[in-house]
Every structure is written in C-alpha cells, then in structure tokens.
C-alpha cells in the first residue's frame, strides 16, 4: 500500500530560524511528488512538483528537494506569514490520477 509520512507533525520556529520539513514515502512507483500549503479554512495551495531524485525547486523562502525515499521542504529565514500546514502528496501512476496525501506538518512562525 502506498504511504506518505510527514514529520514533524507540528513545528514552532522563531522568525528567521531556518528548518526543514520531511516527507518520506513508500510507493510502488513515483510519478510525481507534490507540496501544498494549506491555511486554516482554505483549500490546499500548490507549491511544487518534483519528479526525479536530485531535483530541486525554489520559491521565495522555500526550497523542495527529492531523493528516492523522501523529500524535504527547506524554509530559510521564515516569517510569520509562512505559518500554515504544509502537505506532501504523491502520484503513483501515469496520467492525471489522484494524489495520496500525508497528514501534513503544522508550522508556526513566531515574531
């Protein structure tokens, strides 16, 4: 069975304190790993897609990396507005097939 595990469940950072969120996966075949941001009461907002080990993508203070077993979302010098739940998801078959999500990491950045 395909599984996505995110850690930690919750993370509290001081403003400017860099850290990383982890997403480990056990799947039959990876056809894309996705990171989303979700604010309270809202739907997930797309951040990145990674397809192959070694791939990296960046957006403002966020950088996503991928290995054969896990992905990291690095947050550099976070600000309070980065506070949200970050969701990791995988696609395991070709085409526009559904995603399998982890439970998310709830990030709080304190000023």
């Amino acid at each position: 069975e395909d599984q996505v595990t995110q850690s930690p469940e919750a993370l509290r950072l001081q403003e400017g304190e860099s850290s990383s969120l982890n997403c480990s996966y056990t799947v039959s075949g990876l056809r894309g790993l996705f990171w989303y941001r979700q604010d309270p009461g809202k739907g997930p907002e797309f951040l990145f897609t990674l397809y192959s080990a070694g791939e990296e993508k960046e957006k403002e203070r966020l950088k996503a990396t991928l290995t054969k077993k896990e992905s990291f979302l690095h947050i550099t010098a976070p600000k309070p507005e980065d506070s949200a739940t970050y969701l990791c998801a995988v696609r395991t078959t070709s085409g526009n097939t559904p995603l399998v999500f982890g439970k998310g990491t709830r990030l709080s950045v304190i000023a």
Binding site: Y36, F46, P98, L99, F101, K103
Partner: protein, 115 residues
C-alpha cells in the same frame, strides 16, 4: 482567472438527510477530483472524473456517496442518508490534461456538519 469554486461553503444537516455539494472547476480543466479532509488529516481521495465519466471511484466509502459531471464541467457530489461520520471538509480540485503530469488546483472546500 477564476479558480475552483465550491458551494455551499458550509452545510449543516441532520442525520439521515440528503445533501448535494457543488464544484465549478477552472475553465478548460478536463480532470476533476473530489477529496475529503477530516480534522488533522490530509485530503483523502473519493472520486476522479476525466471529462464526463468517472475514471476512478474507488475512494467512495459506500453506496450512499455518488458524484456526477454531466457536461464535463460542473460536478455535484451527492450524499444520501447522511451519518455523523460524514462530517468533514469536502474538497474539489481540477487539473489540465494537456500534458502527462499536471498539478491539481483546489477549491476552498465545503464544510459539512451532520448533527
């Protein structure tokens, strides 16, 4: 352009009642997905449409749940004889099918509460 919209944003119903949740995808997106998200959990897949047909409905929990997309655009998720365990946020997402792999864009969700 407009994103994915969902109505209503909140729905409170009584146990045993029938409810319909609506999703209006991004224009031009042929793939449409329904997910359900419980508190503290990630979204869980329910059903996926490619055009008008359900390509995969393996996530529907039982036969009380049904979804349609008659014209390949708007979709309606229908829940019969609601139960308290159906309470959750129901999320809709859509994606473009012009390439092999496409990100899914989510709507704001419908929060369903069954009393």
């Amino acid at each position: 352009g407009a994103g994915v919209s969902q109505t209503p944003s909140n729905k409170v119903t009584e146990k045993g009642k029938y409810v319909e949740l609506r999703c209006d995808p991004i224009s031009g997106h042929t793939a449409l997905y329904w997910y359900r998200q419980s508190l503290g959990q990630g979204p869980e897949f329910l059903i996926y449409f490619q055009g008008t047909g359900a390509a995969d409905d393996s996530g529907l929990p039982n036969d009380r749940f049904f979804a349609v997309r008659p014209e390949g655009s708007v979709s309606t998720l229908k829940i019969q004889r609601t139960e308290r365990g159906d309470s959750a946020v129901y999320l809709c997402a859509s994606s473009f099918s012009g390439r092999t792999y496409n990100e899914q864009f989510f709507g704001p969700g419908t929060r369903l509460t069954v009393l």
